[in-house]
Symmetry: C2
Subunit: 214 residues, 2 copies
């Protein structure tokens, strides 16, 4: 398998975590987002989505991090990244989408660029925007984790699921932009548990072949 990835892309980070949790070897193909390599050949020839990450599995191409993780879980079921029963799977998916739909899209590189270049938003206002969506979005996640009977050492139970693969990259981003995190203690307890797991450590941006690419 080949993973088209950028070390700092949190969507790529999610998939790297899933691959490490599954113990699946893969070729890392770097795509430099800051240099806009995702918008130029040869990458545009790989997939019409022009987004990373992309997983190439034989002749099959899968885009969108959540679709990739679900695909990996279906094609390599052990260890499972989804609970065995429908309401459990629904909870893991909903937590994942709380991050993938409510937080991350507002803060990715192309949106921040648009705010600055098109809407002429100041650097300060851009940073406030970033923190606002991270802090309020994580508060929603906190409310769903804290005191819920299914929350365990990880977001759902005592083994990592897709939700943890979404949560950890979001916390990395939050720290990079100096967001407030004291108001989400359950989220941070789960984050700390994840970072004691070698799969999350091996998948982190600083461990990528293109880390700190100029």
């Amino acid at each position: 398998m080949q993973l088209f990835s950028y070390f700092r892309s949190s969507a790529s980070f999610r998939v790297r975590i899933a691959l490490e949790l599954k113990g699946l070897p893969y070729d890392y193909v770097p795509v430099h987002l800051v240099k806009n390599e995702q918008l130029k050949p040869p990458f545009t020839g790989v997939s019409p989505s022009r987004l990373v990450p992309i997983l190439k599995d034989g002749e099959g191409l899968v885009t969108q991090s959540i679709a990739i993780i679900e695909y990996l879980d279906e094609t390599h079921p052990e260890p499972p990244l989804m609970p065995a029963y429908p309401l459990g799977r629904a909870r893991v998916r909903a937590l994942s989408l709380d991050i993938a739909c409510e937080i991350h899209p507002l803060n990715n590189l192309r949106v921040l660029r648009h705010l600055v270049h098109e809407l002429k938003v100041s650097e300060d206002d851009k940073n406030r925007w970033y923190r606002h969506w991270v802090e309020t979005g994580l508060e929603t996640v906190e409310r769903q984790l804290a005191g819920h009977p299914s929350t365990g050492r990880f977001c759902h139970g005592d083994t990592p699921t897709m939700a943890d693969a979404l949560l950890v990259p979001q916390i990395f981003n939050a720290r990079r932009f100096e967001c407030r995190l004291e108001h989400v203690p359950t989220v941070m307890k789960v984050f700390d548990a994840c970072m004691e797991h070698p799969a999350f450590v091996r998948a982190q941006p600083s461990a990528c072949p293109d880390a700190d690419a100029p």
Copy 2:
């Protein structure tokens, strides 16, 4: 089953389509987003997510439209809203996420409000922002549908899938904000096919009990 919905919420519209495609009866519980009812009791007592739609199925609560649709498909498999093979499911999920993660989050009510009230963006700039993300986002969807061997009468094959349940509400929004749509002919062909299907018609905003609620 109960669906907490707002007629104009496109995430609620997605779930209403899925329920209609499955032929499942449900109680419609209106939550008026413009009046911020999602942030007040009794709704805040229903779910800590404070977002619509929410599906209540017996004692089970499911949030996030994509998680709800997947849950409905797992618990009521006929007719299926997902292809039978992993790469097909991955494609349907990726198309759905191209809308749910790359387009819709930038244009929902709370984000538009934030642009106007916090960033003091003008009405014109807000509308330009809206159209930019819809038009470029749908272009990405178009590139993935046009000429793909799995694209049929609908996004994936000749029967509706989750991807169609995501696409149709996005086109309703695009029209409401007068976005350009000539550049996405395949998307519009699929949209037209959907609107010939009674499930999509029955689920549309104007058919909701709270349509045009003051």
